[in-house]
Amino acid sequence: MIRIPSWHYGLSILVVAALGFLAIGNLMPRQSDSRFGINLGLDLQGGSYLLLEVDMDAVIEERVSSLAETIRVEMRDKRIGISNLESDTTEVRFELREAIHFIEARDILNGLVTSDMVITPTDNRFVIGFDEAGRDRLTTLTVGQAIEIVRARVDETGTKEPIIQRQGYNRILLQLPGIDDPEQVKLLLGRTAKLGFQLVDISASAVDVRASGRVPPGSELLPSRDDPEVFYLLNKRVMVSGEMLEDARPGFDGNTNEPVVSFTLNATGAERFGRVTGQNIGRQFAIVLDDQVISAPVIRAQIFANGQISGDFSVEETNDLSLLLRSGALPAPLEVVEERSIGPGLGSDSIKAGEIAAMIGLIGVAIFMIINYGVVGVLAVIAIFANMLLLFGQLTILGATLTLPGIAGIVLTIGMAVDANIIIFERIKEELAAGRKLATAFKTGFNQATGTIIDANLTTLAAALCLFLIGSGPIKGFSVTISVGVISSMFSAILITRLLLALWINITKPRRLFYQEV
């Protein structure tokens, strides 16, 4: 008679029942709104995986150049002579004409420069740039904003349950289930959609400035969208920017019937637009989108909240443009650095292949165990099935994503999980061969095997955890199933197999355990 403590029964039955319930619940047809359970990875259900990189250099360059512009205006207003004002991709530099203004200039700078930038004064020379921490803060902020905008734009396309998250330092991971051709999404994300209304600078002609290359301070030269050879000279100061939009909708012009985008400004925007247009009737202003002039109408009357943007658009373009304007401008350009798209056909083929491989692996291992160990082998096979229930139950609790390599991990677990059973059986066999009684052999065998099983499996677990750190989707799925499989196979061998074997010995009182005389 082998005594098994009653907590042992309790624990085994409880764990198998609880996890088994979850696992079986998962294998039933899923309801579409169910948020609980194992998700299929993109490689199994089809979809797109996009890794986007936020171009921080562009953000910093823009910040630096706009700071240079502010310094120029501010120092001129305060009548402090400066020279050699220049900015590059990382910092602004300038010199004071007279050292006597040093303290005054420093105070002005302290008021102008945000806390994430560092002012380094030497003699009468100033250098202002980002330090490491400032750059990190700006990156975190920018990536966070970009994620919001990406989410808004992706939502507009009607993609179901997209996953959008920051990855690493300046990247955004975008997973789009069910979208195997992400062309439209890529087009939408490929544009920053920075909108601004700027007055045309009439102090010089754009053609002359372009020929001479000397842009007047405070102005900029931008190309037309329709004809890259046509340029406009514009005031750098933006009267109304995209953030002041309250709404943008595609529509048609009442007179010409051409496709346009109608917009509504918020209160701040309307007030500013009204003031500037009121003061500049008869002058030309430009509607600038992503550094291209879309159109440059003449102000005929004061305009407040409502207006429209026309510019030789197709209906589709007005749809996209109003979507982009509604969702807001990206704080920085995004670049696709990794893309993986899987069609639904391949996904369902993969699921089928995975299921077949799992079935054949399971049947093969079961036959082998039964041939080798007879009735005891049958008990091991029952333990494997319990192990599978535990595995799926754990995956359900973790809300894990099942990928194709993940299925491979499960199949591999079937093969490797019996190892713990084999170690136990072989130990018991040896004890029996050494002439011990069945009950003693059972006890010593299990006790000695347990240490070995834990040693051997913890090393596998260590390797699987390292694999988890490599990251990317499908492989992560593999490391999850292997880790979970290792844990549940230890549990099933040490507790469930022991329980089954003890029950079998107690009930049938066999004369032999294996194919050898006891």
Binding site: E53, V336, V337, E338, E339, R340, S341, I342, G343, G345, L346, D349, A353, G354, I356, A357, A358, I360, G361, G364, F368, N372, P405, A408, V411, L412, I414, G415, M416, V418, D419, I422, I423, E426, K429, E430, A433, Q448, T452, A456, N457, T459, T460, L461, A462, A463, A464, C466, L467, L469, I470, G471, S472, P474, I475, F478, S479, I482, Y515, Q516
Partner: protein, 316 residues
């Protein structure tokens, strides 16, 4: 009557008689693998190198690879590799990045190239999968993979060091390195694509191989305590014989599962399964002929048997 009896359990097999021959064989394998790795190099997939991959399935009949090679060659996209993938109607198309300077981003040039490829084959093929990896992301993935392998080997080493004394740890780690290096060598030899899944296989092989070694070492340590007058060789041969049927049985069940993946799991998994099948074979071999062989060369009973136990288990 036993239906099947793999091995008699009461017989000791003199495994270590072959240790000189297998030692030479292993040195040859490792040296050859390193040489192949350096000379022939690995056929790294886009995960590590960057570029495009398209998986296409012929809408009717087998894929016409020669025809595809010709029509895609006309697009002047540089090095294009085509390969049957899984079944004869499916084909895997690999294209290098078209914009060397860009390094990372999916630039217009690259988008244009991929569009051309899609258009030129879309009449008779269904495009089932498209992947693009930027060169910078590729080299980052490569680095991450390397770190993961180092971290895995390192944590296994620390664990073994903690549980066993240093002769065991060194023998186990050398056996592990032997398995990982020869697996990489196999990929260099066969030219099978080396990608993230292969790295997953390498780490799993490391886990499997150490598992095998630990079971054997556990037994050796046991027997060192039980049979104080026996020599190293006797102890190790006896321990290997005792654990042999477990070693073989586990290898067989794992191989059954891997063969199922290799033959039925689809083309995406076959490279992974191939590496693992090799890994199980070499891992089983190395537990006996690298790890245990090496161990026999150490003085396993310096002065007192307790020295074979780590600090925390002494006098216990």
């Amino acid at each position: 009557m036993p239906m099947l009896r793999l091995l008699p359990t009461d017989k000791t097999i003199s495994f270590l008689k072959l240790k000189f021959l297998t030692g030479i064989f292993s040195v040859f394998l490792v040296a050859g693998s390193l040489l192949l790795w350096v000379v022939a190099g690995l056929n790294t997939g886009i995960d590590f190198r960057g570029g495009f991959v398209l998986e296409a399935k012929s809408l009717s009949g087998p894929a016409d690879i020669e025809g595809l090679r010709k029509s895609l060659g006309d697009l002047n996209l540089g090095d294009i590799s085509l390969q049957e993938f899984g079944s004869e109607s499916e084909v895997l198309i690999r294209i290098q990045s078209q914009d060397e300077d860009a390094g990372n981003g999916l630039t217009d040039v690259n988008k244009e190239a991929i569009k051309q490829v899609q258009q030129s084959i879309s009449d008779s093929y269904e495009i089932r999968r498209t992947e693009y990896v930027g060169a910078v992301v590729g080299s980052e993935l490569q680095q991450k993979a390397l770190y993961a392998i180092i971290a895995a080997l390192g944590s296994i080493m620390i664990y073994i060091w903690f549980r066993f004394e240093w002769p065991f740890a060194i023998s186990a780690i050398l056996a592990l390195a032997h398995d990982v290096i020869t697996t990489v060598g196999l990929f260099a030899l066969t030219g099978i694509e080396f990608n993230l899944a292969t790295v997953a296989a390498l780490l799993t092989i490391a886990g499997y191989s150490i598992n095998d070694t630990v079971v054997i070492f556990d037994r050796i340590r046991d027997n060192l305590r039980k049979y104080k007058s026996w020599s190293n060789i006797e102890i190790i041969n006896f321990s290997l014989s005792q654990t042999l049927s477990r070693t073989l049985m586990t290898s067989v069940t794992t191989l059954i599962a891997l063969l199922a993946i290799y033959f039925f799991g689809g083309a995406v998994l076959s490279g992974f399964a191939f590496a693992m099948i090799w890994g199980v074979l070499i891992g089983t071999y190395s537990s006996i002929y690298v790890a245990s062989s090496l161990l026999s060369r150490f003085d396993l009973r310096p002065s007192d048997d307790d020295d074979m136990l780590p600090e925390h288990e002494r006098n216990g």
